[in-house]
């Protein structure tokens, strides 16, 4: 246990420091840095899901006005390392999924680039493709990069003997991150150095990914990304678009090449949440205590590169029960490459698990909160370690009080208002409290304060503000004396803003740097004095299972005649350690919950089995919540500090708001109508007689 940092700025409302520029639209995102004489890129994409681009005739495009270069696999710059199937683009004529890049047109105006791309003649040799996920798919296998299966005790025997049991199947759909700023890279190659103005959750990690593939020393790549227009995981690792822009710049040296991925292209290029099929069996004693726990999940993956959407992850640590079985499989098919989307694993996993718990509560005749209370594990069922401070029950009880849970009638279909059926539901939330080692901060004494430099990212998470607050308290100065610099590989190394690890990992670097600075320069440093410090791994991670918890409460109304479902209100109660900035934290919780509403009620990529593409590949047809869909959403948190989280006492909060949110809504829909929802999203037809 380390000493907690005394706070002055941490814990107080601080208006976003980048706010005035953001509301006016002056903060430069990737596309918006003033650069002279740019070129524009428009990509060529495969129109079949599997086969070869047997011929590509670029002559008409090359002859078009303003076209500077047409890039294809026949003339693309060499790559040093082609292991990564997603990033090693333009290597051959082979096609692994519909939408895969086959090349790009680079021209002096965006209109001409796009027009000329249409002049490229591509002839295909088509092969049969398969894009349909099934539980019994013959290609199903254990993921190469997964967490492994769990077998403990004797599940079959315990399940057979259970007094109460459920045995059900759940599914979550293909979902698309869809940050409002499309993935964008402006790339310039000057013959020896590659500069990328891009939109990324991790400038340094992106550089270390790209450098070996391009065969460049990392020092020869600079990534600049001061402002990121949302990411939700999809900008956590570089996708093929960044590589395409880099290759285009190398092919057309000297001038910046601008590539903003179009909204439609994002659906096949920039990652998505893979659909999952979940088979859950729960067996319990008559009092509801779990004795048998089985969770078998399958997720879609890509032949081009594996990504396991491990729905089983939260099932490993959520509830007690001695006889356990958890298996995770992937089915790699001819589809675009899935990737991180807000709380990968936990978000879909806590859909199945938390609906299953609601079903078990009904079967056992228990209040769903009480069922969870009875199944609190004493130690982490997965690792056997004690929890840091597992406050799920506090979140459930405190949340229930504030939400007004006692008004709920456990009997479905009992509350009607103005012709609508009203129901309430609850679900738990959890997310691991990770902290990554390796970030470095540099502190420099300035005439009027301190410059704090670290390659961190702000994708709406509030880093500009919250990390300045942390630095102010670490240096014991008012926040106005901290000049933060982030979002650039020219600054010291920072780990990715992902998996709710950003702020806590970078803060650890700031603390280390402060300590080094004090040791070297004392308390009255000269202007120009500087020192660096590097974040170490959290030593508590070896002794404790570190997680955040939460509880979601939802009230929905459903019209019995039309099946229309509307969210009435939603409340989230979280335990996440110390909260650095209550304003931005509340926004992040509410933002996660809002995305959870999308997960519950709107979002589904419709993959056409005949052609292998997402049919609804734009924002008119892939629905995300709009303002009118979101009535009242509130978030609160337990006032606490995490003694195992280092001096900051905080845990990350980027993901926990979405985890469990959709299940609370599905459970509320059951309470309203008696119709059990096991497949997302919930559309009105679920409530209509068939």
């Amino acid at each position: 246990m380390s000493d907690l940092l005394p706070t002055t700025s941490i814990g107080t409302h601080q208006v976003r420091l980048d706010g005035p520029d953001k509301v006016r639209g002056r903060a430069p995102y990737a596309y918006e840095h003033p650069l002279d004489d740019p070129l524009y890129l428009y990509p060529l994409q495969a129109e079949i899901a599997r086969g070869r681009a047997a011929h590509i005739d670029t002559s008409a495009a090359e002859a078009a006005d303003g076209v500077v270069h047409v890039l294809t696999h026949t003339n693309a710059p060499d790559l040093e390392d082609t292991e990564d199937g997603e990033l090693a683009i333009l290597r051959s004529a082979e096609i692994g999924f519909r939408g895969q890049y086959l090349g790009a047109v680079i021209a002096t105006t965006p209109e001409q680039a796009r027009y000329a791309a249409g002049l490229v003649d591509i002839g295909y040799e088509q092969e049969e493709h398969d894009v349909e996920l099934r539980e019994d798919h013959p290609a199903s296998r254990e993921p190469e990069s997964g967490s492994g299966d769990v077998f403990a005790g004797d599940f079959d025997a315990a399940f057979a003997e259970a007094a109460v049991s459920i045995d059900e199947r759940y599914s979550t759909p293909m979902e698309h991150n869809n940050p409002m700023e499309p993935h964008t890279t402006v790339a310039r190659w000057d013959g020896s150095e590659l500069t990328l103005w891009t939109s990324t959750q991790g400038a340094h990690p992106a550089r270390s990914t790209l450098a070996p593939i391009l065969g460049l020393d990392p020092d020869r790549i600079r990534i600049i990304s001061p402002h990121v227009g949302g990411g939700f995981g999809s900008k956590g690792v570089p996708h093929a678009d960044m590589m395409l822009a880099a290759l285009a710049a190398i092919a057309a040296p000297g001038r910046p090449v601008k590539y903003a991925v179009s909204r439609q292209q994002m659906f096949s290029i920039t990652g998505y949440r893979a659909p999952t099929l979940q088979h859950i069996r729960l067996g319990a004693r008559a009092d509801g205590t779990l004795t048998a726990f089985a969770y078998d999940a399958v997720s879609l993956s890509s032949q081009t590169k594996e990504f396991p959407e491990e729905a089983t992850k939260p099932g490993r640590m959520m509830y007690a029960g001695d006889n356990r079985r958890l298996t995770q499989r992937v089915v790699p098919l001819d589809v675009p490459v899935p990737s991180w989307m807000r709380a990968p694993g936990e978000a879909p996993g806590m859909v199945g698990l938390e609906i299953a718990m609601d079903e078990l509560a009904v079967a056992a005749g228990l209040d769903p909160i009480e069922l969870r209370v009875r199944n609190e594990p004493e130690t982490d069922p997965d690792t056997g370690l004690p929890f840091n401070r597992r406050r799920l029950v506090d979140c459930l009880r405190e949340g229930a009080k504030r939400f007004g849970w006692e008004e709920r009638n456990p009997q479905p279909r009992t509350r009607r208002e103005n012709g609508w059926l009203i129901g309430m539901g609850v679900a738990a939330s959890t997310y691991p409290a990770g902290r990554q080692p390796g970030s470095v901060a540099r502190i420099r004494r300035m005439p009027a304060g301190y410059e704090v430099a670290i390659g961190a990212a702000d994708l709406g998470t509030g880093t500009w503000t919250a990390l300045s607050q942390v630095a102010a308290d670490a240096l014991d100065v008012p926040i106005g004396q901290v000049e933060l610099r982030i979002g650039d590989t020219a600054l010291p190394n920072a780990t990715v803003a992902g998996g709710s690890t950003g702020l806590v990992s970078w803060s650890a670097a700031v603390f280390a740097a402060t300590e080094a600075f004090r040791a070297e320069h004392g308390t009255d440093p000269a202007v120009g004095a500087e020192a660096q410090g590097e974040a170490e791994a959290n030593p508590a991670a070896e002794k404790f299972a570190l997680h955040s918890f939460g509880a979601h409460f939802a009230e929905v109304r459903i019209h019995p005649a039309t099946g229309e479902i509307r969210l009435g209100r939603m409340f989230g109660m979280f335990s996440a350690g110390r909260i650095v900035n209550p304003s931005t934290a509340r926004s992040q919780f509410i933002g996660g919950m809002t995305m959870g509403v999308g997960m519950a009620l709107h979002e589904k990529g419709e993959l056409d089995p005949r052609f292998g593409h997402v049919v609804n590949h734009d924002l008119a047809e892939y629905h995300v919540p709009v303002n009118a869909d979101i009535a009242r959403i509130e978030a609160e948190w337990l006032d606490e500090e995490d003694p195992h989280a280092g001096p900051l006492g905080a845990r990350g909060i980027g993901e926990i708001g979405i985890v469990g949110a959709a299940a609370a809504i599905a459970n509320a829909a059951f309470n309203a109508t008696g119709v059990r929802i096991r497949d997302l999203p919930i559309f009105g037809d679920a409530f209509l007689p068939t």
């Binding site: 006016r24 430069p28 003033p34 105006t109 409002m180 509410i590 933002g591 995305m595 734009d618 924002l619």
Partner: protein, 170 residues
């Protein structure tokens, strides 16, 4: 193939030559370097590109630049002099009505246009009394702001910010 036009953007006059295919949004961003208007979809589906054209809110990605020869375009950056903030800018900051900020200039312009529409008693689909003055309830604000997507999920705070601005300018 280029044709010339005049645009006044945030009070500054421009004469420029554009391809007939150039949208107003691309004219702003790629030709004039005015980056306050954002591109989120280029298809009129997200509202990130919302600007005020002659005082009315408009998705600039859906308008061809040449059809706006002589127009006065205002982006969020033009709603207050440099270094100052408009009422909406202030209330968006006070209510933390954004996270990544990418949808925000569009939200601000949309809110400005919407407040004007409400002041002119233009009803919306949730307005009950079609004849009377518009009471800007939260439901009215939500409905009228639904053309502007926010993937960060700042809607609750956007409603609070617009409501506060409406209150202050009453």
């Amino acid at each position: 193939m280029a044709h010339s036009l005049h645009l006044t953007v945030d009070g500054q006059e421009h004469k420029l030559a554009v391809d007939p295919r150039t949208t107003l949004l691309d004219a702003l961003r790629d030709r004039l370097g005015v980056m306050s208007a954002k591109k989120g979809c280029d298809h009129g589906q997200c509202g990130a590109c919302t600007v005020l054209v002659d005082g009315r809110r408009l998705n600039s990605c859906l308008a061809l630049a040449l059809t706006h020869d002589g127009s006065e375009v205002t982006t969020s950056d033009g709603l207050a002099p440099a270094g100052e903030l408009s009422t909406l800018h202030r209330t968006f900051l006070a209510q933390d009505a954004f996270q990544c900020g990418y949808c925000t200039p569009g939200q601000v312009c949309s809110a400005a246009g919407m407040l004007q529409e409400a002041a002119e008693d233009a009803p919306s689909v949730v307005t009950e009394d079609l004849e009377g003055p518009i009471e800007l309830s939260d439901a009215e604000i939500r409905e009228r702001m639904s053309g502007n997507l926010c993937r960060c999920g700042a809607y609750v705070n956007i409603v609070a910010a617009v409501s506060q601005a409406a209150e202050e300018s009453r």
